[in-house]
């Protein structure tokens, strides 16, 4: 199997539990049978005897649950600067569906066993496994979206896996022009009116900062992972991450305007793990 790393194709390194379970999940979602050569590659590096050949690998996985709290002072976002009177329609006046607190903009994710010093943002997408639409369509779930409403991107932070298609519906009665110049994905959706939806497929792991050409104060962040081990806490800060195969990981608490917090965790089979993070 080949993976893309820094733009070069090389043989996949499947020694990390994240890579293994990522593939397990993908295959399970696709309903595909893992080939014998594929599983043979998995066995040597599989922690705790997890085998990707069977979906039973998922059964021995446990969840990480707990809560996250923001203790650091967050630099407030700058206020929008609109020096001139609006001359192209007005805002909806609808209430902005803002989150209760900043903790909902926290993303928790796992970094794998770093035998090779890789982080979870290092590219390791399997080109032979079209993760892109399969998990979404196979599960019958709607595509993730970032709406534009009252000159705000909603949600502000969106974690996804590589290959995911994200929709950008315009809910405002005036044009928006969504774009990004991030190295993980650069795009410009052009100007489009209320009710129209544009979409972008994210194939490369990394952080994608999204803006609007017309309204410079609008911004959003998309975190593109090459695995499924991430989650967003609820408004109370509680989260559930998993199932995660047994092994040792680094749990990362990420917030756009805070230094990431890392905590080593060891997941045992059949044993849910409770973790509290303070950012």
């Amino acid at each position: 199997m080949k993976v893309q790393t820094d733009g070069r194709w090389r043989k996949a390194s499947l020694s990390t539990p994240l890579a293994i379970l990522n593939l397990c999940l993908a295959c399970a979602c696709l309903g595909e049978v893992v080939s014998s050569s594929f599983s043979a590659e998995l066995q040597p590096g599989s922690p705790s005897g997890v085998r990707a050949k069977s979906n039973t690998a998922l059964l021995v996985a446990s969840e990480i649950h707990g809560s996250v709290r923001i203790q650091s002072r967050i630099q407030p976002k700058s206020m929008a600067i609109s020096m001139y009177s609006r001359r192209s329609g007005r805002s909806t006046g609808a209430p902005i569906p803002s989150p209760v607190n900043e903790v909902e903009n926290v993303v928790l994710y796992l970094e794998g066993n770093t035998h090779h010093g890789v982080s979870s943002f290092v590219e390791s997408q399997d080109i032979n496994t079209p993760l892109a639409e399969a998990p979404v369509s196979a599960r019958g779930q709607p595509r993730p979206s970032i709406r534009q409403i009252n000159e705000t991107f909603w949600p502000h932070v969106l974690p996804i896996t590589t290959g995911t298609i994200v929709e950008f519906p315009n809910g405002d009665p005036f044009f928006h022009n969504v774009f990004s110049l991030s190295s993980a994905k650069s795009f410009d959706l052009g100007r489009y009116p209320q009710g129209q939806i544009r979409w972008v497929r994210f194939d490369k792991p990394g952080i994608v900062k999204v803006f609007c050409h017309i309204h410079s104060h609008m911004s959003a962040v998309i975190l593109v992972f090459d695995h499924h081990f991430f989650t967003v806490p609820d408004s109370k800060g509680e989260f559930v991450l998993g199932p995660v195969p047994p092994g040792s990981y680094t749990l990362v608490g990420w917030h756009e305007r805070l230094k990431p917090v890392r905590q080593r965790v060891t997941v045992d089979a059949h044993e849910p793990l409770a973790v509290n993070l303070v950012l």
Binding site: P76, S85, R86, N101, L181, R191
Partner: protein, 412 residues
């Protein structure tokens, strides 16, 4: 364990400070330069703009804009240009948005004139080119601080040397454009009921000759406008203004029996914006005239520009702007008022425009290096009709950086 105290989102959004820094390079011809002087010049110029917004209450906001710019001549000009200009308060006003029908909003202070459309996107990151529309920048023969004594005065200055500096007037320029970058002081009401928008202001100076507070010659005048967004992305609008245009310093030199209020500018403007996908189009036109009591004919001028922009990729866009300005010709019956001295040689001006018609084409390329960093380059071709070739074509390049000052300074 669970924590319940929330960190409120956007609770700190009481202040916004944005900085825009740009560095420019230009090489241009100097029209009608004397034979002994260079007919081109190369300049470096830099500008810093600070924009601020402050939330006082949920419906009361304050806004601020300050500018400082520097121009350095590299060659060509003699003496070499070396000029720093600071405008501590280009704009400074309070905005009140009560919960009233029609999205009624009130502003008081020093703000951008509500006439026209280009002023709302004259920041370097919003203007896809480096130059500005001619109707906003071409210095006509209408003076700001001199009272013309007749048509020949205006004709005399038709071939005055124009430098690129004279195209960037700012406040109080010696020669008036049709519309200036006017930031007058006054009060304004505006709103946007449904797909319409309206604005009306009482301000202290004309759209061609903005005066700062404290400058003599300020006169109350009105500016109004409105628009209709037919479909999202397609809007048509109009603007109207009337008021005195001379600076107060000419007061002692006014013809007997006249006052500053006898020297008025009237203007009606039209504007159009259209955008779809990666294409944007802007157009703006103005019909204006200047009344000078010692010239019986109102001196009219009309001008327009059409600007097209296309974004080819997330990083690359191109733009082109076509401009034209037409000036009225002196008529046979253009005579001074009875109580003022008559021009000496009437035949010399009949049928001649009070300035040369001019057209201009500017095209350019822009590259977004990052979200905050942009590079632009453009070439501008200027031509007059019926006059000598002014040879003031201009090549320009610009690098600009937009940054969040409040984050930089850790202002909370």
């Amino acid at each position: 364990m669970m924590w319940t105290e929330p960190v409120l989102l956007w609770s700190g959004e009481r202040i916004g400070l944005e900085g825009i820094a740009d560095l420019g390079f230009s090489r241009s011809g100097i029209p009608y330069a004397a034979p002994s002087t260079p007919d081109y010049q190369t300049n470096l110029n830099g500008q810093f703009i600070l924009l601020g917004s402050f939330r006082i209450t949920s419906s009361l906001y304050g806004f601020y804009e300050g500018r400082v710019s520097h121009q350095e001549g590299l060659d060509g000009s003699d003496p070499r240009i070396q000029e720093t200009q600071g405008t501590p308060v280009a704009q400074g006003y309070i905005r009140f948005t009560p919960k009233l029908p029609w999205s009624l909003t009130l502003e008081a202070g020093k703000f951008g004139t509500p006439f026209g459309e280009f002023l709302t996107r004259n920041y370097p990151q919003d203007n896809p080119l480096i130059g500005t529309p001619l109707i906003y920048s071409y210095p006509t023969t209408i003076p700001a601080r001199i009272v013309p004594n007749g048509p020949e005065f205006l004709l005399k200055y038709r071939y005055r040397p124009k430098t690129p500096q004279s195209y960037s007037l700012g406040t109080g320029g010696a020669w008036l454009p049709l519309i200036n970058y006017a930031y007058p002081t006054g009060v304004m009401v505006y709103g946007s009921p449904r797909t319409f928008d309206y604005r009306f202001a009482l301000v202290n100076s004309s759209i061609a000759n903005p005066l700062d507070l404290g400058e003599p010659g300020q006169q109350i005048q009105w500016v109004g406008g409105g628009g209709w967004t037919i479909i999202p992305g397609f809007r048509v609008g109009t603007s109207l203004a009337e008021g005195p245009f001379l600076s107060g310093s000419v007061g002692p030199h006014l013809p007997p029996g006249t006052s500053l209020r006898d020297f008025t500018q009237r203007a009606i403007g039209f504007d159009l914006q259209y955008a779809l996908h990666h294409f944007e189009a802007y157009a703006e036109g103005i019909f204006t005239n200047f009344k000078l009591p010692n010239i019986s004919q109102r001196l009219g001028a009309s001008g327009y520009y059409i600007e097209l922009k296309y974004t080819w990729s997330p990083r690359v866009f191109t733009a082109v702007r076509w401009n034209q300005i037409f000036f009225d010709r002196f008529r046979q019956d253009t005579n001074p008022s009875d109580d003022l001295p008559s021009p000496e040689n009437e035949a010399s001006y009949v049928g001649v425009g009070f300035d040369q018609n001019i057209n201009s084409l500017e095209f350019g390329l822009g590259i977004r290096i990052t979200h905050k960093l942009m590079a632009k380059t453009s070439y501008q071709l200027n031509r007059t009709t019926g006059g000598a070739d002014p040879k003031d074509n201009m090549f320009a390049a610009q690098l600009l950086y937009v940054f969040d000052v409040s984050n930089l300074l850790r202002i909370r």
